[in-house]
């Protein structure tokens, strides 16, 4: 569903319904902006929350927007993907650290329901080790630096992994865990297709709506 030749900015939303409404209102309408219903948001509001985001973003775009349901699926791949699809999501995430059977079922179900499968490699030392074991390759591999990892250990984003994965597999790469325009640009410069930001948008929406506009202007 996503174009490999374009770069995308994925904005993760984890606030309250009114905060989410405010942030979406500030964002520039563009196909290159993907909206993520964050895990905490989904756990708080359920699939109704995803539908709420879908309605707002699609209204703003004037057509169906691209919504990522950050399910971080760990078990029961089947049930959770069904729920995400029903709520209007175009992509769902599964943890790379989940049992291989779960990841396989998750990808299979995503293909069947025609939504993009994203495998989140947070805390995975060697994403290759996981990809090698899979029956089918996912649409998107997410290289992730967790929020606590960033705050406590200041862990680096694993840019090195991007080329290694792209050389072997026909997937899109999403990089999560950067917040500044420099970091977003760095991820795209290092061949990532999607850069995910979350903190800036929840802490200072107006300042960061500018980041989205700069992204659309400066990065193709």
């Amino acid at each position: 569903m996503l174009n490999k030749r374009l770069s995308y900015l994925q904005i993760a939303l984890n606030g309250t319904l009114s905060e989410v409404k405010g942030v979406i209102g500030l964002l520039p309408a563009s196909d290159r902006i993907l909206i993520e219903a964050g895990t905490s948001f989904i756990k708080t509001y359920g699939i109704e929350g995803i539908s709420f985001i879908d309605r707002l973003w699609s209204y703003k775009l004037g057509k169906k927007g691209y919504i990522v349901a950050d399910l971080k699926c760990m078990d029961r791949g089947f049930t959770e993907v069904m729920a995400a699809k029903d709520s209007g999501a175009q992509a769902a995430t599964c943890l790379g650290l989940a049992p291989i059977q779960t990841v396989n079922l998750f990808i299979e179900k995503c293909k069947e329901l025609n939504i993009d499968s994203m495998i989140d490699m947070m805390n995975v030392e060697f994403p290759f080790g996981i990809l090698e074991k899979l029956k089918q390759i996912p649409n998107i591999v997410v290289l992730h630096r967790g929020v606590e990892q960033l705050e406590v250990s200041n862990k680096e984003i694993p840019y090195l992994q991007i080329h290694k994965i792209l050389e072997t597999y026909d997937v899109l790469i999403s990089v999560a865990g950067g917040e500044t325009f420099k970091e977003v640009g760095g991820a795209i410069f290092n061949d990532a297709n999607i850069a995910v930001v979350w903190k800036a948008f929840s802490e200072n929406p107006s300042q960061t709506a500018k980041l989205a506009k700069t992204f659309l202007r400066e990065i193709r």
Partner: protein, 269 residues
């Protein structure tokens, strides 16, 4: 820790929808040794409000008569005769019992199976009403530390789910604080595809020998598996499949578990 050491608990995981959940809860025997789990799919479908919904459902199964008996007991014996003749609405009686510290009679122990993997502090802060929450053992260590710390702060039990963790001891060694409960887990997808995958019973004594924690075993569904887990020193056994597939049989199965658990029915009000 809210749970008591030396007691055995049966944890019923609710994973389908609220209608099924209601049917299952209505059929459960009264006991404070039965724990109700708001499963991950249920939370992701309904959001955290599902926890208060579960509590409301649990409250509905208590008859007006039982509530009235407890309500009357809260008055001095000289007044009980008069109160028995008075009509008081169910809501007023419940509110009164809650105000007089009898809330535990109505409030089941609910585990929010949030399977936290990131943003621990944020997620714990919003798990309103649950007595325990879960965090993944495969999550970054910083997240687990933050989760355990958050649970202590909010006075809820911390459960670390060791699904897909080869050696739980290695994870526990790295932690700043030890969680209240360690869950040894065999995933649903794993079980269905690889029927030979065993619950790692040998790890129970390994962990208990080193750490002062309760052990919860998840992934078994027959009465034999539950018995085996308790025999192997597990403190909590989580069941889901039997309850999920045949709601009609729930009462029977729950009663049987209840007998095997040998819990005292004195907790029924």
């Amino acid at each position: 820790m809210i749970l008591e050491r030396r007691k055995k608990y049966l944890q019923i995981a609710l994973n389908s929808n609220l209608i099924e959940a209601e049917r299952i809860i209505q059929n459960l025997p009264f006991s404070n040794q039965i724990i109700i789990e708001a499963g991950t799919p249920l939370i992701k479908t309904y959001g955290f409000r599902v926890i208060s919904e579960i509590k409301k459902i649990a409250l509905r199964r208590i008859s007006d008569e039982d509530i009235r008996k407890e309500y009357i007991k809260t008055f001095p014996s000289s007044m009980q005769f008069l109160m028995a003749k008075n009509f008081t609405s169910r809501q007023i009686m419940v509110d009164c019992l809650i105000n007089k510290g009898k809330f535990s009679l109505f409030e089941p122990y609910v585990v929010a199976d949030i399977k936290c993997n990131d943003l621990a502090r944020k997620e714990i802060a919003v798990v309103s009403g649950a007595q325990a929450a879960t965090c993944l053992g495969v999550a970054p260590i910083e997240t687990i530390d933050s989760f355990v710390e958050g649970c202590r702060y909010f006075h809820i039990d911390s459960m670390i789910d060791m699904m897909n963790v080869e050696n739980p001891l290695l994870v526990l060694k790295k932690l700043k604080q030890i969680p209240d409960v360690v869950m040894l887990h065999r995933g649903v997808d794993e079980t269905e595809i690889n029927k030979e995958k065993q619950i790692p019973y040998y790890q129970i004594r390994q962990i208990k020998g080193n750490y002062d924690v309760l052990i919860s075993v998840a992934g078994g569904d027959t009465i034999e598996e539950v018995e085996r887990a308790f025999f192997n020193d597990a403190d909590i056994v989580v069941v889901w499949k039997s309850f999920y597939k045949n709601t009609e049989d729930t009462a029977k199965i729950a009663q049987e578990f209840y007998k095997k658990l040998k819990v005292s029915p004195a907790n029924k009000i």
